[in-house]
Amino acid sequence: MGKKMLSESAVERIEKEYEDWLEEYHKALKKMPERSERFSTVSDLEVKALYTPADIKDGDYLEDIGLPGRYPFTRGVQSTMYRGRLWTMRMFAGLGTADDTNARFHYLISHGETGLSTAFDFPTLMGYDTDSPLARGECGKCGVAIDTIDDMRRLFAHIDLEKVTTSMTINPPASVIWAMYLANAENQGFDRRKLGGTIQNDCLKEFIAQKTLMLPPEPSLRLVIDTVEFGTREAPKWNTISISGYHIREAGSTAVQELAFTIYDGITYVEESIKRGLDVDEFAGRLSFFWNSHIDFFEEIAKMRAGRRMWARIMKERFKAKNQRSMLMRFHSQTAGCSLTAQEPYNNIVRTTTEALAAVLGGAQSLHTNSLDEVYMIPSEQAVLIALRTQQILAHETGVANVIDPLAGSYFVEALTDRIEEEATAYIRKLDDMGGMVAAIERDYPQMEIADAAYHFQQQLERGEKVIIGVNKFPSDRPELEFVLKIDEEVERQQIARVSQFKDDRDKVRLGKAMDELRRRCEGPPCWDNNVMPALIEAVRAGATEQECCDLYRDVFGTYTDPGSF
């Protein structure tokens, strides 16, 4: 037990004074009523007018808040945080062909971004090649089209992969894309053990929220654990899962749900990895997280701090991790896409700025800031530059990076952190009672919670209880921006021709053998000898396309479609 931060008598005096003040407050409201009947965060957590030390009287500074880089890490995962090194400025980028995206990568790097992040187009995300009939009209529109290892080569042309880390937002086909990345990097002379980066590879949140669906839950998990196992042995600097809350939030969940469901996904991955025979301290240090940074400023900061504390406690108490590194919730953050508007799009710069500030004060390791035109389609160069500069201005001009976790001790922020942790923990207990996340998904539990929250917010918006400037307050039309990036339909034709040529040129005998080996491993029980990664690396080197590998998966493991429950 720790010592409380204030003595009982001090708390009593404060509470008494607060009650007194509250009377004055209500008197004043008679003359000038509150602006709203009820004040709540964007997730509808009610907030009071004022917080005092009495609101955090039960906490213990060292046990609950602590110091940065020390358990329970509420104040940050490293002792030096941004004093030692700023967060990585990692702008999500992907458009058209590999060459187009490579150009965008170089543009961003030359303007100061410090890490790469790859957005893939929908066919790639869903495990289809550009020449698939299902891919008609989708090539290059939401990200880059990657069908073969040759596309991967062009994507990362002239980039030192040992010096810069790469994040790739890819889920069911993650093992295939990672294999292409590793194989290509080695072809370029890089050492896989020195490669740093992340694959999103978080299948559980697909069933819950993002819905890039391919295989059923069990084999999806098997493939994820294969990558964790492979990373532990062969690519120790690589983060094999980015356990994501971003998409859960974008689907309409509350901050508490985002936190709880994501942490529970993490719990599931840890359990599955342990079942595979890995020791928790072997792999947990390379699990990373991905949080949304939404428009309600303090709610996001509190959520991120609560998250760090919860994860540390879970890793230590539930999974008995011994190494401190296994308890760290390192995370990337992206400002909330769903908070941006098509109406008066320049307002989005302001939204992104406050959201980015929240992520910085929340202690993110890596950050993407949305561009003002990201509502329409892929950001233009002009817009993405402003977004990058936003991070740089925050980092170098405002001083917020110069003191670690500066909001700690704020009565409101600490009270909100505690509250969010409490509510998220209740969800975690409920999921335990349901028998775990896969069981909960089969019963549509997280999906229904999210759908209800989304509908609730929509109704609040339409009643005017929640405000979006330019939409339901000071409503405005949406203009045509001067610089909207369009993807030419020609891109699709070129890519199809390229893939066709590639397929003609490859060594079909070598490919056949490699695919047989991949199939043998997939059909066998999960273990190191049947780990798909080595077989995939050989297969993509032999010229397997992304779809060919995914079709094999679909054939062996079956497919999954969203049950569409309401």
């Binding site: 059923p216 019963r443 079956g558 479609t561 969203d562 049950p563 569409g564 429950s565 309401f566």
Partner: protein, 328 residues
């Protein structure tokens, strides 16, 4: 005149439906759903062409996996070269009168197969788990030429009995751990199911649920007049496709049983179905006619309702009075 233009038009629709035209069938089903009198005329003409299809009903609580089983069975039937009609029922919201019909999603792979016709219906306030017009819609799909008609119910309450009266074969679907639900249907379990399925059989408690069902069935058989069909209890995993072949076979065996030599069983089923259809049609028409006649004389139900609330009379006496007035 030998026939009116209206009659000719109605016959053209009939021809289209008998030829299996999708649009005409879909539109007629809509008219039936909305209880349009014009639909009745067309139904009358279609009726002689019914009686060929094997009608299989699926009942069980929401979430047990009926849609998935229907989807898997449809694949088997198509492999056999049989055509399939599917009616999937979802509940109407009591507040708004609207409905979300989402069972189709689980049968996506059949959307482009012209041998499969899938229709989603809302209960529209009918509490029996089936809609009022389900009988008629089954007849339309039958006349259209579908070899097998699979009917999937909402799966709550008394619908088990209803579906048994409109189908030849009824499949009751449960999942492990639903012991209480199974106990609740012990009264008349033989009335309900020809075949019993424990789906999601990979879950804990599957064997236990099978045992409970077996006990109930044995109890039912002892008290039943006719013990010639022993309902099989099958374990399936719909999503993985396990146990589907066995289910397919069990359904076929039941059909063979019904059509066996003396046809006694089939006749009994047909008798129950026909009786039910007749009673339902009679209930509908009698009520409608009665209310219409009263309305024509300016009599509404409001006066009677007020009498009941004020305890001046009771519903039963009022109905008797109404009937003796009307049936004079």
């Amino acid at each position: 005149m030998s026939h009116s233009p209206k009659k000719t038009y109605a016959m053209t629709i009939v021809d289209l439906i008998l030829a299996g035209d999708l649009r005409a069938t879909a539109r007629l089903l809509r008219d039936i759903d909305d209880e349009l009198p014009t639909a009745r005329n067309i139904l009358k003409k279609l009726y002689p062409h019914t009686g060929k299809a094997h009608v299989v009903g699926f009942t069980g609580s929401p979430g047990v996996g009926k849609s998935t089983l229907v989807d898997q069975l449809t694949t088997r039937y198509r492999q056999e070269g049989l055509t399939v009609g599917i009616l999937a029922v979802d509940p109407t919201s009591p507040f708004s009168g609207g409905a979300i019909l989402g069972d189709r999603i689980r049968m996506q792979r059949h959307f482009l197969d012209s041998g499969v016709f899938i229709r989603s219906l809302a209960t529209r306030g009918h509490f029996g788990g089936l809609t009022r017009s389900t009988f008629d819609m089954i007849n339309v799909l039958d006349a259209m030429g579908k070899d097998v008609i699979l009917v999937e119910t909402v799966g709550v309450g008394q619908d088990e009995v209803e579906i048994a009266h409109s189908a030849h074969t009824t499949v009751l679907v449960t999942v492990p751990g639903m012991g209480d639900e199974v106990q609740a249907i012990k009264a008349g379990i033989m009335e309900i199911g020809s075949i019993f399925v424990v789906n999601k059989a990979d879950r804990e408690g599957s064997r236990g649920t099978v045992r409970e069902l077996r006990n109930l069935i044995e109890l039912g058989l002892r008290h039943s007049e006719d013990a010639s069909w022993l309902p099989p209890i099958l374990e399936t995993e719909g999503v993985k496709g396990r146990g589907i072949d066995e289910l397919h076979l069990a359904i076929r065996r039941h059909k063979e049983y019904l059509f066996a030599n003396d046809r006694g069983q089939l006749d009994e089923v047909l008798r129950k179905r026909a009786r039910n259809q007749l009673i339902e049609a009679l209930k509908d028409e009698a009520l409608k006619t009665l209310l219409q006649r009263r309305q024509a004389r300016g009599l509404s139900l409001d006066v009677l309702i007020r009498k009941i609330i004020a305890h001046e009379s009771d519903p039963y006496s009022l109905v008797q009075e109404m009937l003796s007035e009307e049936l004079q």
